[in-house]
């Protein structure tokens, strides 16, 4: 087949780097035989590297966070204040992975755990951090056990702990087990959770780099983001910056779920055409059905109708122009039979369940979104409910401590915007013309 020219280049011959095809790569000895901890050794033992040059290399790579917001990683690292020997500093690796539709970090941790540890150590070196917390959601109990076993082996070999590889750099890694709360993925909530508090997000500023866990300078990055660091050291920032979309480069794990023949986690460059991902990578639509819509990167990224994805690629710029976001690159593919209203109802239920309840617009708003979408879904809604929903979204967006309220409002706003006729079709017809009176409790 003739290759179409895309930002992802000749992706059919792409060689995986985050999850290279090596059997048992999760075992330390296999990892060592495959350039494992080589980047860390180079950083710690050669004169070429110091904390600043590591950060600069990451800046040069153009790496953007894979946790959802897509913030430039090197820039984030450079926000850490100058080192003060009396003030501890922390790294948090975010393995909370609870955004519906996202399941890539779990597979990365299962199949290449040492790459995550090595990435955490390199990041710690770059920011002169001595303790890194790896926060993993409690549901991943089996993966936590696996990570702990492998971490112990890395400690035994001197890759983690005191005076790593004979250098004067010491760094501990602690695995923190969550207990089931989506909100803990939000960075300030994650910090509250680590500190042993109820996991309420905090107002920013102050940002984590100024006042993070226990009030000390902290940097938070996603698992996949940190796993890119050893690759950048080994092969160079320039190599990384040339993979995929120039403005959003690198390898990325696409987690594809829903109505495709071959769902799963796939590693490819950024900038893949959405149509290539569905039709070729994921084996096409299940049962030869037509595509109706998709979510490009987790439940909070705006839905795209099938007619909106022509030529759209998986990178921040292209998705923004198309009216959505890259998010976590956890793609949900929906076929023509999906009832969009019922589907949205489940999302509103999710956010209502997961709000931490601190802010009134979010605590109350998520509940009302669920109530109203539910009654629309049950055929009891009125046309004016759609306006009430959109008004509610406006009341929620940008008015709360964290972005969960926005994440809850966007799916409602964009799904109504892009599938309005389906909502209207479900509205009750035997009501007062122009809509009835909203009865409140």
């Amino acid at each position: 087949m003739e290759a179409k020219k895309t930002k992802a280049g000749d992706w059919r011959s792409y060689q995986r780097v985050l999850l290279p095809p090596v059997k048992d790569l999760h075992k330390l000895d296999v990892y060592e035989n495959n350039e494992g901890y080589k980047a860390l050794r180079e950083v710690l033992t050669t004169a070429k590297w110091d904390p600043t040059s590591v950060t600069n290399e990451v800046k040069k790579s153009g790496l953007k966070g894979r946790g959802g917001a897509g913030f430039p990683t090197g820039l984030k690292w450079s926000f850490m204040p100058p080192v003060d020997p009396n003030i501890p500093r922390f790294l948090c690796c975010n393995g909370d992975e609870s955004e519906p539709g996202t399941f890539k970090d779990r597979q990365l941790m299962e199949y290449n755990p040492h790459l995550v540890f090595e990435g955490m150590l390199i990041a710690s070196y770059a920011m002169s951090i001595k303790t890194g917390y790896l926060y993993i959601r409690g549901e991943f109990a089996d993966w936590i056990t696996l990570m702990e076993e492998e971490l112990e082996k890395a400690y035994a070999k001197g890759y983690v702990g005191k005076n790593i590889m004979g250098s004067d750099f010491s760094c501990d890694i602690v695995i923190h087990k969550g207990a089931g709360a989506y909100i803990c993925g939000e960075e300030s909530s994650l910090m509250s959770s680590l500190e042993g508090q109820r996991a309420y997000p905090r107002v920013k500023p102050p940002f984590p780099a100024q006042k993070g866990v226990w009030g000390y300078p902290t940097t938070i990055n996603n698992v996949e983001t940190l796993a890119c660091a050893p690759l950048i050291i080994n092969k160079g920032g320039e190599w990384f910056s040339k993979i995929g979309a120039p403005s959003h480069p690198g390898p990325v794990l696409y987690g594809i779920s829903g109505h495709v023949n071959r769902p799963g986690v796939f590693e490819y460059p950024t900038g893949m055409l959405i149509t290539d991902l569905i039709d070729e990578v994921a084996g096409g639509m299940r049962g030869g059905k037509k595509l109706k819509a998709l979510i490009p990167g987790g439940s909070s990224t705006p839905i795209l109708r099938a007619d909106m994805i022509e030529g759209v690629t998986m990178d921040a710029d292209s998705l923004r122009d198309a009216g959505s976001m890259m998010g976590t690159s956890g793609m949900l593919i929906m076929d023509e039979d999906v009832d969009i209203v019922s589907w949205l109802r489940r999302i509103t239920h999710f956010y209502h369940h997961e709000t931490c309840g601190q802010c009134t617009p979010c605590r109350e708003g998520t509940g009302w979104l669920e109530n109203i979408v539910t009654r629309l879904d049950e055929g009891n809604g009125q046309l004016r409910d759609l306006d009430i929903l959109l008004d509610l979204c406006t009341q929620m967006e940008g008015r709360t401590v964290c972005a969960l309220a926005d994440a809850a409002a966007w799916p409602v706003r964009y799904t109504i915007d892009r599938f309005r006729s389906e909502f209207e079709a479900k509205c009750s017809t035997d009501s007062v013309p122009g809509g009835g009176v909203l009865e409140t409790a």
């Binding site: 095809p21 059997k23 075992k27 501890p88 992975e97 609870s98 955004e99 519906p100 996202t102 399941f103 779990r106 597979q107 199949y111 409690g138 549901e139 991943f140 109990a141 089996d142 602690v174 923190h176 087990k177 969550g178 207990a179 089931g180 959770s193 500190e195 042993g196 508090q197 109820r198 996991a199 226990w214 987690g255 779920s257 829903g258 109505h259 071959r262 769902p263 799963g264 796939f266 299940r286 439940s299 949900l332 999906v338 019922s342 109802r345 489940r346 999302i347 999710f350 369940h353 997961e354 931490c356 605590r363 998520t366 539910t374 009654r375 879904d377 049950e378 009891n380 009865e439 409790a441």
Partner: protein, 224 residues
Amino acid sequence: MGDFIKHPFVDMPDRNPEQVIPNDSLMFTSEEKTQIQTWISRYPTADGAVMRGLWLAQEKFGFLPPEVIKLVAEEIGIPYANAYGVATFYTQYFKEKKGKHVLDICTCFSCQLCGGYDMLHYVEEKLGVHSGETTEDGMFTIQEAECLGACGSAPMLQITNGVFVHNLNKDKIDALLDALREGNVPAFTSVTLPQDEDDLGGNRRTDVTSVESYIVPPVSETLS
């Protein structure tokens, strides 16, 4: 007043519940105490260890009634109110007694579109209880779960905060319930990467006995 509008409400816990764990078994062994001290040493303040402490207590006592939360708070050296606040914040900490096996069936959006509710309703019908309830023999509790981070192998469920069971169908559920009744919890299952099936001819891990590949997901009958 429209019945269909339910205002969000919060269940208030009983202020003076009866103690369920008798005093003579309400304690940690010396190994458990050492383990807790190790966790404490990994954080700048002891508070950081509270989540691990609660996990340990839940594994030991099965759930977290107030007296157990108090025990954890005392062992770690933090106020009871703090430990209680943490225990009640997270869904995986059981505040009341559950069945021997808790089935968390994911119905969140990817699973919803691939038959998550079909699986939930099938289990509900089979066991004769609704989501959130426990069977009379105390064997099973069914719960509707939010996304468990395994959407590619939807529909799926988790057994008592542990093993994931992927690519569910009715036969699989029948076999699973039988096995659990006999006390056999299935082994950890590795889900292959589709690219590994192409490049490595299957799963990459040789140390797991149970492997599953991603499959074409089933068609869902109901979305709620």
